[in-house]
């Protein structure tokens, strides 16, 4: 009886967890790279990273289909290993990562840029290389922002629908995520099921964002002295 709800919930949780881990790593790496990169193409690369925020899901979905289709460059590459991405579970992860990445990247980068440059300079004069100062100074000091970025990415990945439908399709128990399931229940006139799934997604997203807000409030109360003193005095 619960199966119609548990199946999409299970797919979504698996997809979102894996996508969040990947987005987390890629976002931090990209943010760290772009903070230090002052080259000629920095604006262009920055724009490219943020593009998924503004592009319609259909554009992303169609673009991915072109890339990963039988005749697409990445599709041909995967075919060499006898595998395909389209209409498979990993496709839900790929689309989730692509739409969540800009949020992770943008927020994390903002956090890195807010670290007092003199703290990083101090680490440099004390013999730290760029990697050591990133791990011991920049990242720990922007940890609250990185965590916020992660929760935002998590909720965005959870809500992904359009591109997922186009690339991964609707295979129950395999690629049918919660938003996709809601759409097809509605199409089939199963209003009650659609409503229950909607409530699940709603509560999930609300809980994540409330946790984020609560945690931020806590961090501000605890860390007030610490952060302010380090930066201002």
């Amino acid at each position: 009886m619960l199966e119609p709800f548990l199946l999409p919930l299970g797919v979504s949780i698996r997809t979102v967890l894996v996508a969040t881990v990947i987005t987390f790593s890629l976002g931090i790496a990209a943010a760290r790279m772009m903070v230090n990169y002052k080259g000629r193409f920095s604006s262009l690369i920055d724009g490219l990273f943020l593009l998924p925020i503004v592009l319609p899901p259909t554009v992303i979905g169609f673009g991915l289909l072109l890339l990963f289709g039988n005749r697409g460059p990445l599709g041909k590459l995967l075919a060499l290993f006898d595998t395909t991405l389209i209409f498979s579970w990993p496709a839900t992860v790929v689309t989730a990562v692509i739409v969540a990445f800009p949020l992770m990247y943008m927020t994390t980068r903002g956090g890195f840029e807010q670290v007092d440059p003199n703290l990083e300079n101090a680490a440099r004069t004390l013999g730290a290389g760029e990697w050591r100062l990133f791990w011991t100074v920049t990242l720990p000091l922007s940890w609250p922002t990185v965590l916020a970025a992660t929760i935002l990415s998590f909720t965005r990945a959870l809500g992904e629908f359009g591109a997922t439908l186009m690339l991964a399709g609707n295979l129950p128990g395999k690629t049918t995520t919660l938003p996709v399931a809601i759409y097809f229940r509605l199409q089939a006139g199963q209003m009650r099921d659609a409503l229950i799934l909607t409530v699940i997604v709603f509560l999930f997203a609300l809980a994540s964002l409330a946790l984020l807000a609560y945690w931020k409030k806590k961090a501000r109360q605890n860390g007030r002295g610490k952060q302010v003193a380090g930066n201002q005095r």
Partner: protein
């Protein structure tokens, strides 16, 4: 020995300096925006200058000619930042130990304990920077900078964030730390008094250039030019012409006063009659007299401003019809009962002992 000779341009600003520090404490003195901090950043490698040469004890840190630029982490230079830049997420002990990575744990612990002893706060080693007073923060910043035993130590306005009361105590403590640290020290300040107290040599900065670099006693008695004189506290500066020069004394004619002033010529200076010079005297060296005598100028008191323990008096020379120069006199101490004659017409005494002579052109 630290040798710096760099040029660096920013929009609207140009740094062009030459400085040698030879195992002593040099105060860099100048108004904000004169390039003091930029000099320190160039030495530490946090800014890459457009051109020049930086050498520390024979090792070339930067050379535009040979395309050498040693990264800051390899420079063996300690830096105390203006806001101290302590790592807020690390304890006092971890802050001090940050520059010691690569050494064995017992060695690090020993060094940290030793430095905590030196800065006199062993009990605070597990506190976070935010839990320290600004004076304690400053001492931790200092301990952290000298922990890796750098060959030169750079301090960027370490007292600017403190109030007067704390400043004086910490200046004293900093002086005692100098005994612990052996190496070149460059100390940036905009306060002449502080630069004099803490440094042995003073480099006076003005708009990206060094106006004068000499022993501090020389800087405050024999300014090299108008800018150096102004920044070294000679607020009263008047131009004149040498009337008579005989050996170690001379008379200088001052058009604004319409009279001669006698001066003592420093041994290193050669004055010839007719030569344009500038005469400078500090406000606190200007004395008032009721009667005319040698080297007095007849003046009228125009304005007085009293501070807590100071009294500033502003005069115009009676012969100065265009009123181009306001002479400033500073009385120290609580004695407000200065004689009545100061009110209207009086004589200001230019003591030859305290007059600085700056050759012009």
């Amino acid at each position: 020995m630290l040798e710096i000779s760099v040029k660096h341009s920013l929009p609207g600003f140009r740094l062009d300096i030459n400085l040698t520090v030879n195992g002593e404490i040099v105060s860099i003195l100048g108004p904000s925006g004169s390039g003091k901090t930029m000099t320190l950043y160039c030495i530490a490698g946090l800014i890459r200058p457009d051109e020049g040469l930086i050498k520390l004890n024979k090792e070339v840190l930067f050379s535009s000619e040979n395309k050498i630029f040693i990264a800051p982490r390899h420079r063996k230079i300690g830096f105390v930042f203006q806001n101290y830049a302590l790592f807020p997420h690390l304890t006092v002990a971890d802050n001090i130990a940050y520059g010691l990575s690569g050494q064995s744990v017992p060695a690090i612990n020993k060094k940290v304990a030793e430095l905590l002893e030196v800065i006199n706060i062993p009990a605070l080693k597990n506190r976070y920077p935010a839990e320290l007073s600004s004076g304690q923060q400053q001492r931790v910043a200092l301990a952290r900078a000298i922990a890796p035993e750098p060959e030169a130590l750079l301090l960027d306005e370490p007292f600017s964030a403190l109030d007067t009361y704390r400043k004086e105590r910490l200046e004293y403590e900093l002086l005692s730390l100098y005994r612990y640290y052996k190496g070149d020290i460059l100390f940036v300040t905009h306060d002449l008094e502080q630069g004099f107290k803490l440094g042995k040599q003073i480099a006076i900065y003005d708009n990206g250039k060094i106006a004068q670099y000499a022993d501090k006693h020389k800087v405050i008695s024999c300014p090299a030019n108008r800018t150096a004189a102004r920044l070294a506290g000679f607020k009263n500066l008047v131009e004149g012409r040498v009337a008579i020069s005989r050996g170690n004394t001379a008379e200088v004619f001052i058009p604004e006063f319409d009279q001669n002033l006698a001066v003592i010529t420093p041994a290193s200076m050669k004055l010839v009659a007719g030569q344009p010079v500038m005469i400078g005297i500090r406000p606190e060296h200007l004395a008032a007299a009721g009667q005319p005598k040698n080297n007095t100028v007849r003046c009228r008191l125009e304005r007085k401003v009293s501070g807590v323990t100071t009294l500033h008096l502003y005069y115009h020379a009676l012969k100065d019809h265009q009123k181009r120069y306001s002479l400033e006199r500073l009385c120290l101490g609580f004695d407000r009962n200065y004689p009545d004659y100061e009110e209207s017409n009086c004589y200001l005494y230019f003591n030859p002992q305290h007059l600085a002579i700056i050759p012009l052109g």
